[in-house]
């Protein structure tokens, strides 16, 4: 079962360039009967490995732009600390809705690109 989740999660991660948590978390909850907390925590450890495999795989094709990765990845690292801090203090439906709306705008932008 875990092997199946790994295969699906890895495939999804490489196809979309995301970590695969969007797939791994629900699969762990549905099939492995994890609670959400353990599914979330475990999936982060999984994503770490999956992302490394993905980078190796795409680097072999010469597709990884390291400078650009650092340009968005390092500020993101700083951002997570602020985000965690905010998350523990503010719980807002408005913020989630704004984020969802923001993603829809980006999606449209990508369709038009």
């Amino acid at each position: 079962m875990f092997v199946g989740i790994g295969l699906v999660g890895g495939f999804f991660a490489a196809l979309f360039g995301v970590g695969g948590g969007i797939i791994v978390v629900p699969l762990l909850i549905l099939f492995a009967r994890f609670d959400a907390k353990h599914a979330t925590g475990t999936s982060l450890a999984v994503i770490g490995m999956t992302a490394v495999f993905g980078v190796v795989s795409f680097a072999a094709l010469g597709e990884v732009e390291w400078d650009d990765a650092a340009m968005v990845g390092l500020p993101a690292l700083a951002g997570t600390f602020l985000g965690t801090w905010v998350q523990q203090r503010i719980s807002s439906r408005l913020l989630v809705n704004l984020f969802a709306a923001f993603i829809v705008v980006i999606s449209i932008e990508l369709f038009l690109e």
């Binding site: 995301v18 994890f34 925590g41 999936s43 795409f58 650009d68 990845g73 951002g79």
Partner: protein
């Protein structure tokens, strides 16, 4: 210069969102790399995977400290994901750019719907 500032800012925002909702890594990295930094979709996806590694490592370490990581399962799923990654890479490389980009756009709509739908009913899950 403006481009760099915008990319750095969006990276920072991706991190904030990632810390807040457990989402925002790849979901925001890929569009930033495509729209702001003008990477091709395939390069953007490859680069996004590299960009998320520091964020995910810190997140995983934090979850480990909270006792939320089941390591045996994580290792099994994580190591077998290598085979899935190999398949996904081949398919992503074979698909035309515009198809890959539109697939990603559809994924974004799915994530937006899931966020709007699940808020308040389920604990947050990482969509990175």
């Amino acid at each position: 210069m403006t481009t760099i500032l915008l990319a750095v800012s969006l990276g920072f925002v991706a991190g904030i969102l990632s810390g807040m909702f457990g989402v925002g890594g790849g979901i925001l990295f890929v569009p930033t790399l495509v729209i702001v930094l003008d990477l091709a979709q395939l390069s953007a996806q490859a680069t996004s995977l590299a960009a998320m590694i520091p964020v995910v490592l810190v997140g995983a370490y934090r979850q480990h400290r909270y006792g939320n990581v089941k390591w045996r399962a994580a290792l099994l799923v994580g190591l077998t994901s290598a085979a899935g990654v190999a398949g996904g890479t081949v398919l992503a490389d074979a698909l035309p750019e515009h198809v890959l980009r539109k697939l990603f756009a559809v994924l974004l709509l799915f994530v937006a719907a899931q966020l709007a739908w699940s808020r308040g009913r389920r604990p947050r899950a990482p969509l990175a």
